[in-house]
Amino acid sequence: MSIKNEKEVNTNIIQEMLNQKKARMKLSLAACAGCSLCAESCFLFVSKNQDPRYMPSYKVVYSLGKLYKKKGKVNWKALEEMKDLVWKNCVLCERCYCPFGIDIPNMIAFTRSILRSQGISGVYPHTLGAPEELLNEE
């Protein structure tokens, strides 16, 4: 008897979605100079003791950037890590500032819709009052 621990990733859907916005997203990812000046505009970065994982460019590069780099061929574990980056580490308040004008919230929202296409979505709220069934899944 084999126990299947890994959930199935539907790579085709991910690739299709990535292709739809390829030009704009890849341009935005390419234009990111990694200057980290977006950090102070994120209240989460500021209130979590300047943890780099809350920096807007970090969130995008390690979620959407990773998806484009691997051309959508990621495993479930990678998707779960991205889930935390774009749901736990970001509230989509849309206030992040990029000196080059890169539209960061749009990229986070796009990543969220890709994750939703795989049946992954943020558990809300994270610990308080979430139904038992959802908590057990984590």
């Binding site: 505009s41 209240f43 500021v46 209130s47 509230v91 308040c93 849309e94 206030r95 139904p131």
Partner: protein, 226 residues
């Protein structure tokens, strides 16, 4: 989302007079999205207040901290460790957030820095419009997605009042008549029969504090009564 607007500076100064050390708590939810009470606005307000009080030689210290949302106790717990060193708290969240903040710290005076205006949408950056009055009994399915409670100046339920001129409301010629829009919308969708339905007199339900307990959670909170 809930759209709010910052109170005039003079009013906030009036509220804070007499307090020496203030904690300005921002909100990363609705307030941030409508550019009213996010991290940037907290910093801006702190600067304006500090400069004003400094000019009048009044001892004044204000620090800012933005939490994820003020409408959740879990997120307000971040403030527990720092609250004691302040005389008063200024909140840049909507009215709901201010009240939760006041509930969590009942010994500290909590002041609102925003006026909560409405439930609305983003027309464009910095331009927000009301779309919902939270009446509690949504009839958007019958009106083609246009809310007569919000968009009609008189919140009429059974068609236009006979006052519209050139498709605009008699109350204000800059406001389109909601019922003419509803008519056009329903006509476009071939659902005009909805407009013939007579609605009963609305029982206004939002006069007392609203409460929702979802079905799936009722068991957790029900107390046996005998």
């Amino acid at each position: 989302m809930i759209k709010s607007e910052r109170k005039p500076l003079e009013e906030i100064i009036g509220l804070l007079s007499g307090y020496k050390k203030i904690l300005n708590v921002g909100c990363g939810g609705c307030s941030s999205v409508c550019l009213a009470g996010g991290l940037k606005e907290v910093n801006d307000l702190n600067t304006m207040l500090s400069l004003t009080f400094q000019k009048d030689n009044v001892p004044f210290e204000i620090n800012g901290f933005t939490v994820e949302r003020q409408c959740e106790m879990e997120f307000l717990s971040e403030l527990d460790s720092m609250i004691n060193s302040y005389d008063a708290v200024l909140s840049m969240a909507c009215g709901a957030g201010v009240q939760f903040l006041a509930e969590r710290f009942p010994d500290k005076p909590v002041f609102p820095a925003l006026n909560t205006k409405f439930v609305g949408v983003n027309k464009d950056i910095g331009w927000y419009e009301e779309r919902c009055k939270s009446c509690g009994d949504c009839i958007l399915g019958l009106t083609g997605g246009i809310c007569p409670v919000t968009m009609c100046a008189k919140s009429l339920f059974n068609g236009p009042c006979g006052g519209p001129q050139d498709g605009h409301c008699e109350v204000d010629k800059d406001i389109p008549c909601a019922w003419i829009n509803i008519y056009d919308r329903l006509k476009r969708q071939n659902r005009l029969e909805n407009i013939h339905k007579i609605y009963e007199a609305r029982e206004w339900q939002d006069q007392i504090q609203g409460r929702i307990v979802l079905e799936a959670y009722k068991d957790r909170y029900i107390v046996e009564e005998d």
